[in-house]
Amino acid sequence: MKHRYLPMTEQDQQEMLKVIGVSSVDELFEDIPEKVRFKGELNLKPAKSESALLKELAQLAKQNANSDEYVSFLGAGVYDHYKPVIVDHVISRSEFYTAYTPYQPEISQGELQAIFEFQTMIAELTGMDLANSSMYDGGTALAEAGMLAAGQTRRKKILVSDAVHPIALDVVKTYAYGQSIEVVNVPLKDGVTDLDALNNLIDNDTAAVMVQYPNFYGRIENVQAISDAIHAVKGISIVSANPLALAILTPPGKMDADITVGDAQPFGIPEAFGGPHCGYFATTKKLMRKVPGRLVGETVDEDGRRGYVLTLQAREQHIRREKATSNICSNQALNALAASVAMTALGKKGVQEMAKQNILKTHYAKEAFENAGFEVPFKGPHFNEIVVKVEGSVQALNDALFEKNIIGGFDLGKVSPELENHILIAVTEQRTKEEIDALVQEMGALQHA
């Protein structure tokens, strides 16, 4: 058959079969036992030409409401942020996107150096000693942090703040089950981890405490107090942090966190219906040899030139096999590159400006809601999300907002019965004052209708 991805001609095939010493293609498949050989044709949709397929899939894409055409206040872990256009141009260079894991450093210096730069930027933002080359996403990175902590402390209990993203918590629980680790929830007080409750729960069997920073409700946790509490029993302090917020907020590394994980999606990575995003994993020198995933290190070649290689591979699955504590192999390298380009484009000043705009606009929205008579529970500082109490169902409210071209916030009733009729509103730098005013006004009008 002729296809643009298949260069083999009839003549090629004849010549090749001759060299192989068979008279037909079928002979090459005779080792498949007759009983399991698939006969006939797979029942799949027939092939489409390039333009016909583009047309069909463009139609399918149009059935989705996207944040270019709608004004989105939906966050809860995935955000509509400014994506410097240059990001897509860099990651579209096929020397990057058609390569695999840089096993041959001599012809992979570009990728290796870019990842070394990524590791440096994440270490800078988190204030940790080092960072790895990426994880699948923030949720699995958090789960891996929990497994590392359990392995390191030889303890089987992890305390997780109720203000950790509920979906990330679900992932942590799945991994924990595999490792027979007990997951215990820590309650909240005013939308942040209740320190008294935490201190009561911590004991000598506790491997780690996990908190989110800023937390699921947009609040800012007292990471130092949490680190101190878990360190008192020689446990591990794990923080899941939004790296954009760390442009302004005191980094977890300065508050004695042992592991900081999170997702670099705010840096140049599209929402993409939840993936692929880019998990990161940063930690201390002490835990360096326990880090999951790939690490890129600097070294020299035979002529003394600086170069980069995958290093400390004795930790990894292809060497340790069944003794490996993590099975990660493929990671999110291309998205780590995207995040690096975005962090470079934004640079030292841009990340701060962008983070500051999130804080200011969220603060403005909070006051606007309060002025319009809405209750905004959980007093205290926020990053880019606030909780607003509404009358009636959030679902109905969001349906009505959608009619006004607005993608509303996250319905918190889905995660906690106590937060029935509460909506989580995200306000990034992308939202204008006009859009925020419109949201508050529409919500006010709908509430009082």
Partner: protein, 491 residues
């Protein structure tokens, strides 16, 4: 390749330059200290670089020129299926209706995305012969672990908590035993026989009432089809275990044999391999898992279902293992895989497998006179040579790999599988032309001659790359994992 050393982006930075464009803030500017307590505000700036947009583009362009991808040249990295990454896939994944949609949007507003996912699942069900597929796992190893967690849940639901062992062939990928360990199992290794296949006698010895599963890739990592697959499945099923298919090598059997028909109970697929989601320098991938009927209740939540009111996520799955990843998998990669499958159609996928297998056998026969071929029979999509002859001449497989770099090729996978001495695992894929294969074989033949006549040329390779062999021992003994400004001591 770009020869000059490229400085680190931090070394190119100059205070005061910007590479971004943000709108001026349009809400009242308030001092941050009036909103945030001072202990929450960082005192040291994160040292990110400051460059203009052109300088950023030049930096990454220079780096890209120091990198080899499939578009740069032949990349016969065994078991990784480095085939062409179609450009149309990239365009489709960037449609705003796929790229800029939020995972927590109301299902009514993302019916197109859900429809694509559902149809992709249906196509993968048909290709693998399984009953249901989840798209949630992010990569191959993640899919392995997901399937093993389901196997564990299956046994536990039957009250069989004593099934603690997972059997893995000695030729398996390293992720297999690692995934089993992370899922809480103990690992038992089964030997290969003189034909490179699972040793049935040894398998019978290691199975028992404690067997949870066997993990197998078919064709195996030697590129050989496990002819006794039905007997293998029977042995495992006979003791109540499950048979797991590692889909890393699916490119070899599409339309020729389906894991579901071979007796496998669950399977993971690497959509970034067989189905052209690009490898991205190491990821992102996508590792869907397919299962037979009896394992459906244990699938990760949520499960995508088709109802008369459109596509919906079903969260009411009491026996589910839970979530394995936030949201619904690497959607962007799944979009690319779907685009590929729809570009190929059923006859196209059949031709993919046939051409991949012809290409591999052709290369194997051309190279057989020059390199040791430990298992002399038809291979599937890949084959493994041994550098044992060259080793006697003082030339190691590592040297052969490095010498290939001088010819502009990415070397094959080396020293794997572990049961072949000085292994060279070659996978050409179907997207390479005969001319490319011939040129590569000519280079391999020349290297074999060099090993005999001028071994130092091979031993000292590479000679033409931007950098020579790197000191990996130094990198591991004195790890430098980030850039530190020369005038600063590390914090």
């Amino acid at each position: 390749m770009h020869k000059e050393n490229q400085p680190l982006v931090f070394e190119l930075s100059k205070e005061g330059r910007v590479g971004y464009s943000l709108s001026k803030v349009d809400v009242p500017e308030v001092e941050l200290s009036t909103i945030l307590p001072s202990e929450f505000i960082r005192t040291e700036e994160a040292e990110l670089p400051e460059l203009s947009e052109l300088d950023i583009m030049r930096h990454y362009t220079a780096l890209s020129r120091r990198n080899h991808g499939v578009d740069s040249g032949f990349y016969p990295l065994g078991s990784c299926t480095m085939k062409y990454n179609p450009k149309v896939n990239e365009n489709v994944a960037r449609f705003p209706g796929f790229a800029n949609i939020h995972p927590l949007q109301d299902e009514k507003t993302v019916q197109g995305a859900l429809g694509l996912m559902y149809d992709l699942q249906q196509h993968l069900i048909e290709i693998t012969g399984m009953a249901e597929v989840t798209l949630q796992p992010a990569a191959g190893a993640h899919g392995e672990w997901t399937a093993l967690m389901m196997i564990r849940a299956f046994h536990e639901a039957n009250g069989e908590t004593g099934r603690t062992k997972v059997i893995v062939p000695d030729s398996a990928h390293g992720t297999n035993p690692a995934s089993a360990n992370v899922a809480g199992f103990d690992i038992v290794t089964v030997k290969s026989d003189e034909n490179g296949l699972v040793d049935l006698e040894d398998l019978r010895k290691v199975v028992g009432p404690d067997t949870a599963a066997l993990m197998l890739t078919n064709p195996n990592t030697l590129g050989l089809f496990e002819e006794h697959i039905l007997e293998i499945a029977e042995i495992i099923h006979g003791v109540g275990g499950k048979v797991y298919y590692d889909g890393a090598n699916l490119n070899a059997v599409m339309s020729k044999a389906r894991p579901g028909d071979m007796g496998f109970d669950c399977v993971h697929l690497n959509l970034h391999k067989t189905f052209t989601g690009p490898h991205g320098g190491g990821g992102p991938g996508s590792g869907p898992v397919g299962v037979k009927e009896d394992m459906i209740p244990f699938l990760p939540k949520p499960v995508l279902v088709k109802t008369e009111n459109g596509y919906q996520f079903d969260y009411d799955r009491p026996q589910s293992i839970g979530r394995v990843k936030p949201y619904y998998g690497n959607f962007g990669i799944n979009v690319r895989a779907y685009t590929y499958i729809r570009s190929m159609g059923p006859d196209g996928l059949k031709a993919v497998t046939e051409n991949a297998v012809i290409n591999a056998n052709y290369m194997m026969r051309r190279l057989q006179p020059y390199y040791e071929l430990p298992y002399n029979r038809h291979c599937k999509h890949e084959f493994v040579l041994s550098g044992s002859r060259q080793k006697k001449l003082g030339v190691r497989t590592l040297d052969i790999a490095k010498r290939l770099l001088d010819f502009g090729y990415h070397p094959p996978t080396t020293y794997f599988p572990l049961n072949v001495e000085e292994g060279l695992m070659i996978e050409p894929t179907e997207t390479e032309s005969k001319e490319t294969l011939d040129a590569f074989c000519d280079a391999m033949i020349q290297i074999a001659k060099e090993a005999e006549e001028t071994p130092e040329i091979v031993q000292e390779a590479p000679h033409t790359t931007v950098i020579s062999r790197l000191d990996e021992t130094r990198a591991a003994r004195h790890p430098v994992l980030k850039y530190v400004k020369p005038n600063e001591t590390e914090r």
